[in-house]
């Protein structure tokens, strides 16, 4: 089982001819007789063949160079004087004459709805009053903040806001989504995700944290840049995260995750996808964020994925005594402890030999605790 895990992670490399000859031969001969690895290798080949046939077969010969006129157009564009940064406002398209009238009509209708709602609230039949309140909600929240409390969907937002306030954030209901946050911010955000902090201690957030994420996060792709002082608050450090209530943390983590795919995955409530996405980033800080995200799930079924990563770390960090390498080793060990409930590794992981020994222990754990396989076959 153990050796199979080790071999399975190399099957793709084998298939694409990326292994040294000796290792390729060893893995090929194992796969030929193994009931797990053989079918997996076949499945990987099938996918590759399927994609190749569908996408890459019969492609016409590509041009070697851009055509002269296209090349010239690019160089002309490069030579053109820069436009002022503040662009002139574009000419507005001609508006249909009806639009101003429609706006007035909409405003009148909206006013009528709000008035009706207020009247209904005073009336004794509250059950009847609730219906128009719901229907008026989107319009009311879109135009007049003051009328929002009457609307049910608006209330859902306010609940998220309240959570944000209790976490020490500002009262703004929106949150900034920086396009390129600093690595330190990422780590901080995921710290918040796993409850305020420092390491992946025993009382880490349960997977329910992620389940809560979609409710706390705007359901649409942030239409841009929802504004708030959240970014500034984030920069201020841990005060907001020390006792951060659950709904707030994933929202913050989501907002500061560097990778759009990871953010989307957390938003979907799919922390595993987010973690794997971050683990395969080049930036060590992102990988640490991935390890913490993985750990926060506390799902022992993800140990196999963690060990695949840990083995790659073993290969790439051998002899690396940098601080960044040490943090990666430590975060991996912490993630293993969080996923399995095993005690934290006590030895110094800046010595790679210790890390390797710990890895052997993790592999042994996996062998003794086979998890329901998520992987093929």
């Amino acid at each position: 089982m153990n050796s199979c895990h080790h071999i399975q992670e190399r099957l793709t490399d084998l298939h694409f001819g990326e292994l040294p000859a000796a290792e390729a031969e060893r893995i090929r001969s194992h796969a030929a007789g193994c009931p797990d690895c053989g079918p997996l290798l076949d499945a990987l080949r099938d996918v590759e063949a399927h994609l190749t046939n569908a996408l890459a077969a019969d492609a016409p010969a590509p041009p070697v160079r851009l055509s002269d006129d296209r090349r010239r157009a690019i160089l002309d564009a490069a030579a053109r004087p820069a436009q002022p940064v503040s662009r002139a406002p574009q000419a507005a398209p001609p508006r249909p004459v009806l639009i101003p009238f429609l706006r007035v009509a909409a405003a009148v209708a909206l006013l009528a709805i709000v008035m009706l709602h207020l009247v209904n609230r005073r009336a004794p039949h509250t059950d009847v009053a609730s219906a128009p309140a719901d229907t008026s909600a989107p319009a009311a929240s879109a135009t007049a903040e003051t009328s929002a409390p009457a609307a049910a969907p608006a209330r859902a937002e306010t609940a998220g806001e309240t959570a944000a306030k209790t976490a020490g954030e500002t009262a703004d209901q929106t949150i900034d989504l920086p396009s390129a946050p600093e690595p330190a911010e990422i780590a901080h955000a995921v710290d918040a995700l796993v409850k305020g902090g420092d390491a992946l201690d025993a009382d880490m957030e349960a997977p329910a944290t992620f389940g809560a994420a979609p409710a706390a996060i705007p359901s649409e792709k942030p239409s841009g840049k929802l504004r708030a002082n959240a970014a500034a608050k984030r920069a201020e450090g841990g005060s907001a995260t020390t006792h951060s209530p659950r709904p707030t943390a994933p929202r913050r983590a989501y907002a500061t995750m560097p990778d759009k795919d990871a953010r989307v995955a957390v938003r979907r409530g799919d922390p595993k996808a987010a973690a794997l996405d971050l683990l395969s980033a080049a930036d060590p800080e992102q990988q640490i964020a991935g390890l913490k995200t993985l750990a926060a799930t506390r799902d022992p079924r993800l140990v196999a994925d963690l060990i695949i990563y840990a083995r790659q770390l073993d290969r790439t960090l051998d002899g690396d005594t940098s601080e960044s390498a040490n943090r990666l080793r430590r975060a991996t060990a912490d993630a293993f402890a969080a996923l399995t409930g095993a005690p934290h590794v006590k030895t110094r992981l800046d010595r790679h030999a210790n890390y390797r020994r710990a890895l052997a222990g993790w592999e042994a754990w996996l062998q003794q605790h086979p998890q329901p396989a998520e992987s093929l076959p």
Binding site: E9, E18, E48, L51, L55, L66, L75, A281, T316
Partner: protein, 177 residues
């Protein structure tokens, strides 16, 4: 102020074109199967690069190679998505723009179905993983080349490919059964 940077910009874009036009054209042609479209997309990618440099002069693009690959890939994919339906109709009408004159209508339909199924599988992946997979499978690049183009490590590329293929294999298995 902007004028002072023009010679640099011209030199930079010339160097980038010399270095990247061939691989980008090859990649886009294989992805789109249309050399003319590939030319359009590569040109548009370089123009986008210039605009980005102009509009945000203080925001450095750390790895222009990776940036341009990503932009070209996204343009190509946008085109594929937008035209998936239109192209299907064209093919049904026998007006395919590909050089497929020797194919019968059945072949064309089979190929179209296969391509649609393949894109459906690729849609399971994140943007970045999809690009890694297409660079490997469509463009037949080595791990090292992909790593360079995408600003990843070789280990990352192996990891991404392995997980992506497994994910797609899971999707494909019931269809092959």
């Amino acid at each position: 102020m902007g004028l002072t940077v023009q010679p640099d910009l011209t030199r930079e874009i010339t160097e980038l074109m010399d270095q990247l036009e061939a691989p980008l054209l090859r990649y886009c042609t294989r992805l789109l199967r249309r050399p003319d479209l590939a030319q359009d997309i590569v040109q548009e990618s370089f123009i986008r690069f210039l605009n980005h440099r102009r509009e945000t002069p203080d925001t450095a693009i750390n790895n222009p190679k990776s940036w341009l690959h990503r932009v070209a890939h996204n343009f190509a994919l946008d085109h594929i998505r937008r035209n998936r339906r239109g192209e299907a109709i064209q093919e049904e009408l026998g007006e395919t723009m590909r050089d497929a004159s020797h194919d019968g209508p059945g072949d064309r339909l089979d190929r179209r179905d296969a391509a649609a199924a393949a894109w459906q599988m690729l849609d399971l992946l994140s943007e970045r993983d999809r690009q890694v997979v297409t660079m490997k499978i469509v463009d037949k690049r080595s791990y090292k080349e992909i790593a360079e183009a995408m600003d990843l490590t070789v280990t990352n590329v192996g990891f991404i490919l392995h997980n992506s293929l497994k994910k797609m294999a899971r999707e494909l298995a019931p269809k092959l059964a």
